[in-house]
C-alpha cells in the first residue's frame, strides 16, 4: 500500500491497459552518436545512462571523475559543445550529435599537455588529484565564458555587456565555486588559472 502512489497510473490499471501495451512496445535503449575528443562514437545506450558513466565505462575515458554523482562537486566536469557541464547529470541519450571534450582531449595529441595542465603542474595546484580533471575543464569553460562577456555573481553589474570580462582572483574563485577540492588546493588552483589568462 505504501508504494501504491508510485505504481498507480491515472485512470487505474484497467483503463490504462491500451497505453501500457503501447508503452511496453517502446524501447528503453537508443542509438546515440557522440563526437568525443574529435572522434565520432556511436553506441546503443540504455536511456538511464549518464554521460559520465558512458565516458568512463564504455569509452575508457576515466579522466572525468565520479565524486558526488549529484551535480554538487564538479569532479565530473567536461565540455559539451564547448560549454562546461556536470556529466553526471546529463543523460547520454539527450546528447545525440553533441561534441564532448574531456580532460584526455585537451593536449595537442603529440604528448604535449594543455597550457592549463602545465600550469597546474607548475603551481602544484592539487594534492590527491581527484578533482583536478574537473577543475581544469571547468576553468577552461570559465575562461571562455568570461571572454564571451558572461558576468558572474561578483562582476560589477555596471560593467558593459558584450565585451570580455576581466578575471581577477575573486572572479576566478566565484566562477570555479562549482568545483570542490577536499584537499583545499584552492589558492594554487587560482594561481594556475591566473597563469594562463595573463
Amino acid at each position: 500500500m505504501g508504494s501504491q502512489p508510485h505504481d498507480a497510473t491515472p485512470g487505474g490499471a484497467g483503463a490504462s491497459v491500451p497505453a501500457e501495451t503501447t508503452e511496453s512496445a517502446e524501447s528503453h535503449h537508443s542509438d546515440v552518436t557522440l563526437r568525443v575528443n574529435g572522434t565520432s562514437r556511436t553506441l546503443t545506450l540504455d536511456h538511464r545512462r549518464a554521460l559520465l558513466d558512458v565516458l568512463r565505462e564504455d569509452l575508457d575515458l576515466t579522466g572525468a571523475k565520479k565524486g558526488c554523482d549529484h551535480g554538487q562537486c564538479g569532479a565530473c566536469t567536461v565540455l559539451v559543445d564547448g560549454r562546461r557541464v556536470n556529466s553526471c547529470l546529463l543523460l547520454a541519450v539527450s546528447l545525440d550529435g553533441r561534441e564532448v571534450v574531456t580532460v584526455e582531449g585537451l593536449g595537442d595529441g603529440d604528448g604535449e599537455v594543455h597550457p592549463l595542465q602545465q600550469a597546474f603542474l607548475d603551481r602544484d595546484a592539487f594534492q590527491c588529484g581527484y578533482c583536478t580533471p574537473g577543475q581544469i575543464c571547468s576553468a577552461l569553460g570559465a575562461v571562455d565564458e568570461a571572454a564571451m562577456g558572461h558576468p558572474s555573481h561578483v562582476t560589477d553589474p555596471g560593467r558593459p555587456s558584450g565585451r570580455p570580462m576581466p578575471l581577477d582572483r575573486d572572479e576566478i574563485r566565484e566562477r570555479l565555486s562549482g568545483n570542490l577540492c577536499r584537499c583545499g588546493a584552492y589558492p594554487h588552483i587560482v594561481d594556475a588559472v591566473e597563469d594562463v589568462i595573463r
Partner: protein
C-alpha cells in the same frame, strides 16, 4: 532507476502530444534537478519527453518594450543577455547567485521554475513527506527545518521553493507563458507557484501536460533600478537562507512604484504586498522601509529552529531598498 522511454520533441505541439499519450511521462529540460531526483528514486518517469531542443532558445524584444525569454534559454545565457542586465538587472543577479557555472550552462528557464524543493525529507524516499507521498506526514515540521519556511506554510508542508530566478521574476511582475491542451495562457510569476495548504504535492498552478514556453518581463519594470541579494551559508554555490529581489521607482520624493519579493521564506516566492502598499506614496527613507518590512513580516510563523530568518530577511530587504532609493532620499532619516 527504472527503465523509461525517451522521445525528443521537435515542436511544442509534438511535445504536448507525446506527453498526453504516455502515462507517467515527464518533460526533460536541462535535467539538472529531474535527473538527480530520478537517481534518488523520488521521480520514476516511464517516459521522458526531451524538450531541451525545442526552438524556444531565444531572447526576443517585443514591440511594447517587454522581453520574452524562451523556456529553453540556458540560465547562463539569460543572465548574460545585455537587455536583461541593462533593464532588469535583478533577474541577471538572481540567476548568477544560483547554482554553479556548470549547472547554469545546463539549466533552462522553464526547468528552473519547475525545480522541486531541496527539503531533505522530500529527497529521501525512506522519510515521510506529504509532498512526495501525500498522507505520509511531514518529517521537517518537528525535524531538521533550519532552512524551511516561516511564511505561508501549513501543517502538511514547511518546504521552501529553491529558485533564485523565480524570486526576481515575482518582484519584476513577469508572466509565465504556458502551452497545453486548452491552448496558450499566461500566469503572473508571483502567482505561478502555490502555497502548500493541504495539497503540498502541487508546487505550481501548471496543469497536467502543460509546458512552460517562456517568461515575459514587462515594460512596466524595464529600466527601473532593481537588485537581488541572497544570504547563504557560504559565499557561493549554496541555496538561500533568505533572499530578496526589489524594484523601486521614486518620483517627486515619494515611492511611485515598488515590487518586493522574498526567497527561501515560503513555498513560493513571497511577494511583499503589504510592505509595497505601505510604501506607495511614502518618502523612501530607511525608517519607511523598516516599517514596511516589519509590517510584512508580522505574518511570519517561524518553526523551532528558523526564527533567524525573519530579521535576516528584514535586514537584507531594508538594505536592498535603501540602495535602490535615490541617495538624498535615505538621508532624511
Amino acid at each position: 532507476m527504472k527503465p523509461f522511454a525517451y522521445v525528443r520533441a521537435g515542436s511544442v505541439e509534438e511535445a504536448a502530444e507525446a506527453y498526453a499519450t504516455r502515462p507517467g511521462a515527464r518533460y526533460l529540460g536541462g535535467g539538472t534537478n529531474l535527473v538527480d531526483l530520478m537517481k534518488l528514486g523520488v521521480e520514476e518517469p516511464r517516459a521522458l519527453i526531451d524538450v531541451s531542443r525545442l526552438p524556444l532558445d531565444t531572447v526576443t524584444e517585443l514591440p511594447d518594450g517587454s522581453l520574452r525569454i524562451g523556456a529553453t534559454v540556458r540560465n547562463s545565457d539569460a543572465a548574460a543577455h545585455p537587455a536583461v542586465r541593462d533593464r532588469w538587472p535583478a533577474l541577471s543577479q538572481a540567476l548568477l547567485a544560483g547554482a554553479s557555472g556548470q549547472l547554469r550552462n545546463t539549466a533552462t528557464t522553464g526547468g528552473n521554475l519547475l525545480q522541486r524543493t531541496r527539503c531533505p525529507y522530500f529527497q529521501d524516499v525512506t522519510k515521510p513527506c506529504n509532498k512526495r507521498q501525500p498522507g505520509s506526514g511531514c518529517g521537517a515540521l518537528d525535524g531538521v527545518h533550519r532552512d524551511h519556511a516561516v511564511l505561508g506554510h501549513s501543517e502538511t508542508c514547511v518546504a521552501t521553493h529553491p529558485s533564485d530566478m523565480a524570486v526576481a521574476l515575482a518582484a519584476l511582475d513577469a508572466r509565465i507563458e504556458l502551452y497545453g491542451a486548452d491552448g496558450v495562457r499566461s500566469v503572473p510569476a508571483d502567482r505561478f507557484h502555490r502555497l502548500p495548504g493541504d495539497r503540498p504535492e502541487r508546487d505550481t498552478e501548471i496543469r497536467p501536460g502543460e509546458l512552460v514556453t517562456g517568461v515575459v518581463l514587462p515594460a512596466a519594470t524595464a529600466g527601473l533600478p532593481s537588485l537581488y541579494r541572497k544570504a547563504r551559508d557560504r559565499a557561493s554555490y549554496a541555496f538561500a537562507l533568505a533572499s530578496v529581489a526589489a524594484v523601486l521607482r521614486v518620483e517627486g520624493g515619494v515611492v511611485q512604484q515598488v515590487g518586493i519579493a522574498f526567497g527561501a521564506l515560503a513555498h513560493r516566492p513571497w511577494r511583499a504586498e503589504r510592505a509595497e502598499a505601505a510604501l506607495l506614496g511614502a518618502a523612501p527613507t530607511r525608517a519607511a522601509f523598516e516599517h514596511a518590512l516589519d509590517l510584512e513580516l508580522e505574518a511570519a510563523r517561524p518553526l523551532r529552529d528558523n526564527a533567524y530568518k525573519v530579521p535576516l530577511a528584514r535586514n537584507i530587504g531594508v538594505d536592498v531598498l535603501t540602495r535602490l532609493a535615490p541617495p538624498a532620499a535615505t538621508d532624511l532619516t
